[in-house]
């Protein structure tokens, strides 16, 4: 049942991101800079508020509400309202799916890594579809209807009969230090990701392959970190990506993207490990850090030197080292975190 819920959330994540980017890039003119800024602010910067609300109201069906809002955005005639509604729907859905993936994970990182992975595919395919000759609102509409039905059947918030298994991915440092280091790592990585050379990304196929690499990286990061421990996976992955991403050829950059994205689930799991009562807030804080990391690019007219990008990725690796646990996690099965699955 847990796997089915995860599969439904993954498909819905793909569908929601596909529709949001269809809305942004469809119509006669694609979204301009201001519309993108508004979209990103509503969709990423405010997720932690939705997360805090959902933490306090565990039975709020955030995933379904998110899908519903994106569906409303698809039919709204006014473009700005449509973009704002889609962004809000995106934020609400992500929190719903994120909470499910964290609380139903049985103490493992893999589910949340797999959940966040499919968004990258939705973003690229939604963008490419919106600009294609086959572009029609029917495809996103059908995707949303299927998502809504699947979520209603398989992923409705259930009454908690047993507390979730605690995550054990944070370093033994004080809680505040773990949270700050993990968020700073995400923030720096977000900036470095935007600043990395991207001249190689030409044509639809390479854009799709880039999203596929990001998707695989996010999913693999969680799976491998469960097996070998967050530090053993996250640090080498980031250091390898710091070299590969700065070599501006498709093959190296795609490999770099795969490694670069492996740490997303690791940082999120470190935060959730110290805030086990707040899965929604934990998830939302990571997207806020991602968002803040993109803001300096508003002023970067002439690009960032590749050596600076590489140094920033190494700094992000150092912060991941500080915030995450050494060795593979041990499932905590005593006290309040007992689980009888």
């Amino acid at each position: 049942m847990r796997r089915l819920t995860l599969a439904v959330n993954c498909f819905s994540h793909f569908a929601v991101d596909f529709c949001c980017f269809y809305i942004l890039f469809a119509a006669d003119k694609p979204a301009d800079g201001v519309e993108f800024l508004v979209y990103n602010t509503l969709a990423f910067a405010l997720q932690f508020i939705v997360g805090a609300f959902c933490d306090a109201h565990r039975r709020f069906p955030a995933s379904i509400v998110g899908v519903f809002l994106v569906a409303v955005a698809l039919v709204l005639p006014h473009r700005t309202f449509s973009i704002c509604t889609a962004a809000l729907g995106n934020a609400v859905f992500h929190i719903g799916g994120g909470i499910d993936s964290l609380t139903d994970a049985l103490g493992k990182m893999a589910p949340v890594g797999i959940f966040v992975s499919t968004g990258a595919l939705g973003v690229s395919l939604g963008t490419l579809f919106a600009g294609s000759v086959y572009s029609t609102w029917l495809v996103p509409a059908v995707l949303l209807i299927i998502s809504g039905v699947l979520l209603a059947v398989f992923a409705m918030p259930h009454k908690e009969t047993e507390p979730p298994v605690a995550f054990d991915f944070a370093s033994p440092l004080p809680m505040g230090a773990v949270i700050v280091a993990a968020l700073a790592s995400i923030c720096i990585r977000s900036f470095a990701g935007f600043a990395a050379p991207a001249e190689w990304k030409t044509g639809a196929m390479l854009i799709f392959l880039a999203s596929l690499a990001a998707c695989l990286g996010k999913a693999l990061g969680g799976v491998l970190a469960d097996r070998f421990g967050p530090r053993a996976v996250g640090i080498p992955a980031l250091i390898m990506s710091s070299v590969l991403l700065c070599i501006d050829t498709p093959v190296t950059a795609l490999a770099g993207l795969l490694f670069f994205n492996m740490t997303m689930a690791i940082n999120l799991s470190a935060i959730y490990s110290v805030l086990p009562e707040n899965p929604g807030l934990s998830f939302g804080l990571t997207t806020l850090a991602l968002y803040i990391g993109t803001l300096p690019m508003l002023f970067a007219k002439n690009g960032i030197p590749v050596l600076v990008v590489a140094a920033l990725i190494v700094l992000s690796a150092a912060l991941t080292y500080i915030s995450s646990k050494k060795g593979a996690p041990r499932l905590k099965t005593g006290g309040n975190n007992a689980h009888s699955a």
Binding site: L37, L46, I49, V274, L275, I292, M297, L298, K301
Partner: protein, 49 residues
């Protein structure tokens, strides 16, 4: 990637003004709220323990 200079031609002064207001009022406000919620969550957890 969007830059400040790209935004300027839309409505020169207004656009830059809104952007600066956004960067120096809205974003710090959001960060302040995030810090408040983190502190509250940490306090709650410490109380629980």
């Amino acid at each position: 990637m969007l830059t400040l200079l790209d935004l300027a031609p839309i409505v020169p002064i207004l656009a830059v003004g809104i952007l600066l207001l956004f960067l120096f009022v809205v974003v710090p406000g959001i960060v302040f709220l995030a810090v408040f919620l983190i502190r509250r969550a940490v306090k709650k957890k410490n109380k629980g323990e």
